[in-house]
Amino acid sequence: MATMANTDMANKSLAQLIGETHPDDQKLMAAYAIAGLLSLVGAFALAAVLVVIKTPALGLANGELYYRMLTGHSILGFVYWFAFIQSALLIAGATALRDGGRLWSLKLGWLAFAFMALGLVVNMVGVFAGADVLYTAFPPLAESFPATPLIYLGYLFVAAGAFLITLDFLATVFTWVDRKRSLQAWKRMLDEMHISAFAAVCAVPLIFSIVLTAFFLYIPAFRWSMGWISTDAREFALNFRLTYHVMFHIIHYIPAMAMIAVAYVLVELTTGAGSIYRKTVAKGLFLMYPAVVPPTFLYHLMADPSITQGIKIIGSALSLLVWIPSLLHMFIVTGMMEAGMRSAGYGLFGWIRHLPWRNPAFASLIMGMATFGIAGSLTAVLLQEQTAALLHGTFAVPAYIHPMVVGAASLIYMGAMYYGVTICMKRDLWGPRLARIQPYLLSVALVVFAWVGTMAGYAGVPRRTADITFGGVAPESWQALMNVAMGVGGTLSLIAGVLFFVVIGMTQFAGKKRPAAAALGGGLAMLALTRTREVVYTPTALIPGIIFVLVVLMFTAGAFATMGNWPIRFG
């Protein structure tokens, strides 16, 4: 039956499909989205404290406050905002992207929500009770903070929640096949499935391995931190560190995949472009993630003594592969835009000017992709054993991870939220002008943070350090760099975050009511194009990828040159 209904899908716009999601499913989705938003608000609020502390010009460095706020900030931002919003996206993939689609079990969905919410509460109690262990909570450091068990326990709850909601998603996909024994029926279902829902299916094995590793890691860690097992802390720490990095590494790629999945939806919603490349190719690229992601966890351990150099070099070679699926997806999404625009008669470069730049969701998409590329190129030096020593553990790490998770993944999710809120609440965006500048401000702010932060990393500023002057003995130049990275980049990011929260919050209560059939207002209407010709090749879309590769090669060569000039030679 579901497949029958689904044949109508082609006749309905994506916006209509999203609007017709069953109210009960919508409610669950909204619960996750709101919990995610609240976590993000929390992460931004604590980030404000961090910006104040880490801007040396303000002279307010405070270790105790800094490490506590940093622990809370990263747990809220990296764990809970993503866990909640990505669960909402899973539900959307299971319902909104399929005509008449319903979630397999609402109760299971709510149970999963309860687990995640419980995890959030337990973790926050832990943080404010003084578990200043940062989100990594490495033993044996964790030994020094009595509240640490609450960090591990919270992680166990959120992992359980992630497991249950993913199970619910998977069960939903199973209901899409009527004759379970027929291979043809499965093939047809996978073929009909929206590419973004397919991306979610590909993420399932990764999510399950994260959950499994989390249990494997945090159950013993919790027991150890409670003093229930008497393993020597130092021995325990070595195993923890390795297992942790396997899990933590895979976690990064869930936002990467989800963000690209959302990009496919946004490009359709904003420009009306359809895929010109064979859908099976784009879908196949999502299958690359479960294959290339897990073995590359090694790149987090390039500066560790516990791994031999040979293994690190193999790890470096593998790490170069993790960019490939994302790079190709970016090409396809840009190509979809190019083909759509140029088929309406615009020239080889002229199409770029006519993109819907004033649509806040489109701006989120395009700026998110650009920021993703910029941040991605900054990782090159860190991924290679041969150059990692130059930046490992420096401020270059937060300087690339923030544009990736905030400027790219979160920004693209924000773009989706602009649609989600207006479509589901049947209201127009409040403050469309604010919404219009928000994506640009956020990505520019994060690029400033990334660029100057990376310079600080190259100059040697360590990450996760309250007082980067080291009591006055550190180089003076560090302060100027951090003043710009935190004081300018950080502050502007905060403002952009506040703009988003205000627009979304006000839309829910004060957005103009819109009749069900009316077109979307607030700059979110789909670009109206009249197709006059067919465009098959999209050369312009190749340019960002070529620039990316050149920049990566340049950074690598630059790293070797810097290391060759060191007054002390290492290795």
């Binding site: 460095a61 270790g63 490490y67 490495f138 044996p140 450091l141 020094s144 021995e235 720490a237 070595l238 560190r241 500066a303 560790d304 003594p305 516990s306 791994i307 031999t308 150099q309 040979g310 690190k312 070099i313 070679a317 170069l320 960019w323 790079l327 090159a380 290679q384 054993e385 041969q386 020593a389 130059l390 490992h392 553990g393 420096t394 190259y458 100059a459 040697g460 360590p462 996760r464 350090t465 309250a466 007082d467 980067i468 080291f470 003995v473 550190a474 180089p475 590769v549 990566v552 090669l553 690598t556 070797f560 810097t562 060759g564 060191w566 007054p567 002390i568 030679r569 290492f570 290795g571």
Partner: protein, 179 residues
């Protein structure tokens, strides 16, 4: 993307050097044993100003502990070759050797020695900061590497510069230095 691999070849870093660890040694070392070796090394080599002078070809033990490095200043001679062997006796730390425009970073953890070969070429004082959050006092944890003019014109790579090791030995080099 894979164009990077030939680059490793150009810079001569495609294959692991002597098949071993860039900055690691597999042996697990107990904290007490290492603390003892460090103490003997400091005792044998310390100068009136509290720094220690390392000898070419001999391993330099550096112990990381919340929130200090021991010894807190190491004197090396330009042109010589050394091996710094580092171990944390409590939590995970890291070193970030500051060289003006950039830094060299490596993790120092409990249980596994971080062994780094180093060959200073220019005299100067190089600060080494801890760059892994190790507790509230993290931002006060640092030591110095002081590079002095080389003693003679001896080029690096002496005859008899056998791989210095503190871990595999049975006696400990440290205690038959100058008394």
């Amino acid at each position: 993307m894979l164009l990077i691999i030939p680059m490793w070849g150009v810079y001569g870093v495609l294959l692991p050097q002597d098949g071993g660890h860039a900055h690691g040694a597999e042996e697990l070392v107990s904290a007490a044993e290492f603390a003892d070796q460090t103490a003997r090394f400091i005792e044998a080599n310390k100068l009136p100003d509290g720094s220690v002078r390392a000898e070419h070809g001999k391993a330099i033990p550096v112990m990381a502990i919340q929130y200090a490095f021991k010894p807190n200043a190491v004197r090396l001679a330009a042109g010589e070759e050394y091996e710094m062997q580092m171990l944390s006796t409590d939590v995970v730390h890291a070193i970030s050797v500051q060289m003006g425009e950039s830094s060299y970073n490596a993790v120092v953890m409990p249980g596994v020695v971080t062994a780094i070969k180093l060959r200073p070429t220019q005299p100067g004082k190089y600060r080494v900061f801890c760059n892994e959050y190790c507790g509230i006092g993290h931002d006060y944890m640092h030591f110095s590497i002081i590079v002095e003019e080389g003693a003679g014109e001896e080029p690096h790579g002496h005859p008899g510069s056998e791989k210095p090791s503190l871990i595999k030995q049975d006696g400990g080099h440290g205690d038959h230095g100058k008394h």
